[in-house]
């Protein structure tokens, strides 16, 4: 009786109309048939897609820089920031032949996100000092096996010839926040030009 919401259950004798059941069945069928003519609540996914917000947080992407080198340096800050502990990585040292593949002398040889653990909060993106990881407006596809949800670098790194556009997520607030994170050594050539112009 703490909530004052409990109801006394009354077992009352049914009338002969109720006992006949048929009226109740027809009542139910009328409701069912009415819904045939109403607007559908579902859509034909994946052929049809609902509009989603430009800052939607979906499947991650590991970005490459302008020359196609991977930006991630396996610093581990995304993994530390991740509240669901979904991210793991193994770092490796870049050799002389791989200079065009990776931007810094250290890179992630293994980078895995467990999409079953991920809660798509975007803290990895916020923690990243190298502008390497972004969440995109792609929805993580469903599969039948658990191990298929552990996304490795083969899925996460963007292909060189199919770049993903993440500028939609760079709202003025985000850019303002990131201003503090930027050090000059970390800027691309284009950024440097913009910084110089904004000074004058």
């Amino acid at each position: 009786m703490l909530t004052n919401r409990s109801k006394q259950v009354v077992k009352k004798e049914m009338t002969w109309v109720e006992k006949a059941y048929l009226p109740a069945i027809f009542q139910g069928l009328i409701i069912t048939f009415k819904h045939i003519f109403k607007k559908k609540a579902t859509i034909r996914y994946p052929e049809q897609k609902r509009p989603i917000a430009p800052v939607y947080r979906g499947q991650h992407v590991l970005k490459r820089d302008e020359s196609g080198a991977e930006r991630c340096t396996a610093c581990g800050l995304c993994a530390v920031a991740c509240p669901a502990e979904a991210i793991t990585m193994v770092a490796a040292e870049r050799t002389k032949d791989e200079v065009s593949l990776y931007r810094e002398e250290k890179y992630a040889s293994v980078y895995e996100i467990n999409m079953l653990r991920c809660i798509f909060c975007g803290l990895c993106e916020e923690a990243c000092p190298k502008e390497a990881i972004f969440l995109t407006d792609r929805i993580v596809p469903s599969t039948f096996e658990r191990h298929e949800f552990i996304f490795g670098k083969d899925i996460l790194v963007e292909p060189v010839n199919e770049r993903l556009d993440v500028t939609k997520r760079q709202t003025p607030e985000v850019l303002e926040f990131k201003k503090d994170k930027k050090h000059k050594h970390n800027l691309t050539f284009l950024d440097k030009v913009i910084v110089k112009k904004s000074r004058h």
Binding site: A74, C75, G76, V80, E104, E105, K106, P129, K130, H185
Partner: protein, 344 residues
């Protein structure tokens, strides 16, 4: 014995004590940070200027203030001296300037650097510096060098504190590396990339306050904050055998000397630092080689000890706020036990 007042706390210290040592005797947040001074290395200190303090009263006999900030590691106390460190806004501002100068040529490649997480320069810039750089010129650049097969030298990150040179001079037999060139072109180097292979050369890694000298056997294996420190020892003929093991899971990723709350190698009862030999450091990476003494108590200077920045920031904010109205001679009221070294 002289009595010195540091940030409104009086302490009586033996004759010939430096201001820094007196502050360390008090302990807590009033201790000036150090980058080049190392208590167990002779003639260290006086290069980096991060430990500067303001001397408001030179001594009881001559109460005139010293007109410019002094390096506390190289200045001995006088009776009746009044020193201000974190309770002087001018001093904090001067130190922020020192940090900016130290960072002029630093590449800030912390995401790549193995020292990140236990780096004194990171702590220093976080606690005393600015998050931004105003430097517009190209930074000096060097290629990373292998010093022997176990030590990597990233000259880009070096702040020229000379600690490793002092170690090579005083700890190892036969010095084979030092500083060549002068001014901005100065660099730590071996003579024509000669390998360092004496037994105690690995200690240059421990004394390096930044990521300039790092352990090649730990290179890019993990980040410091993912590894768990344990104190351990073994019977070693060459050294004390007292070390710190850095575990990840069941694996020993790295072996270092034990460090005290000032980030220096711990001293034994006789007052000598427990340097460790290269065999203990590089070759004994199995749990069965060691007797575990217990988990390491982390006091200071590490992201492993959570929230250690918070208290200091509050005291400094208070100082700056209160000093805004009245620049000199106020008693700063610190929270209950704020200066107690045991209250971290």
């Amino acid at each position: 014995m002289p009595i010195v007042t540091i940030d409104d706390i009086k302490i009586e210290v033996p004759e010939g004590t430096s201001i820094l040592q007196a502050a360390r005797m008090i302990g807590g947040d009033i201790v000036p940070p150090t980058m080049c001074y190392y208590s167990s290395l002779k003639t260290s200190g006086g290069y980096c200027r991060t430990c500067i303090v303001k001397v408001e009263q030179g001594s009881a006999k001559d109460p005139r203030p010293i007109p410019k900030p002094v390096a506390s590691c190289r200045t001995t106390v006088m009776d009746g001296m009044v020193v201000r460190n974190i309770t002087s806004p001018e001093n904090l501002e001067a130190r922020a300037g020192v940090v900016e100068f130290l960072l002029l040529n630093h590449p800030l490649d912390c995401p790549v650097c193995d020292q990140a997480g236990e780096c004194h320069l990171q702590d220093l810039s976080y606690e005393n510096g600015k998050s931004e750089t105003r430097y517009e010129f190209p930074r000096r650049e060097f290629d990373p060098i292998d010093i022997g097969d176990k030590i990597k030298l990233h000259m880009n990150r070096c702040i020229l504190c000379y600690r490793c040179v002092k170690v090579a001079d005083q700890i190892t037999d036969g010095r084979c590396h030092g500083v060549i060139n002068r001014g901005e072109a100065a660099e730590i180097s071996t003579y024509i990339e000669q390998a360092i292979d004496n037994d105690f050369s690995g200690n240059v890694i421990d004394v390096c306050p930044v990521g300039a000298l790092t352990d090649k056997t730990f290179r890019f294996k993990s980040r410091v904050w993912y590894t768990k420190p344990l104190d351990a020892h073994r019977d070693c003929k060459k050294c004390s055998g007292k070390v710190r093991l850095w575990y990840q899971g069941e694996e020993v990723l790295r072996v270092t000397a034990r460090k005290d709350e000032w980030g220096e190698v711990e001293k034994n009862e006789a007052g000598n630092a427990d340097w460790i030999c290269n065999e203990c450091r590089f070759d004994k990476k199995e749990a069965k080689d060691w007797t575990i003494d217990g988990p390491t108590k982390v006091d200071r200077h590490s992201v492993i000890s959570a929230n250690h920045y918070e208290g200091l920031k509050m005291i400094k904010a208070d100082t700056l706020r209160m000093m805004g109205a009245k620049p000199h001679g106020i008693k700063v009221e610190l929270g209950e036990g704020a200066l107690d070294p045991n209250n971290k």
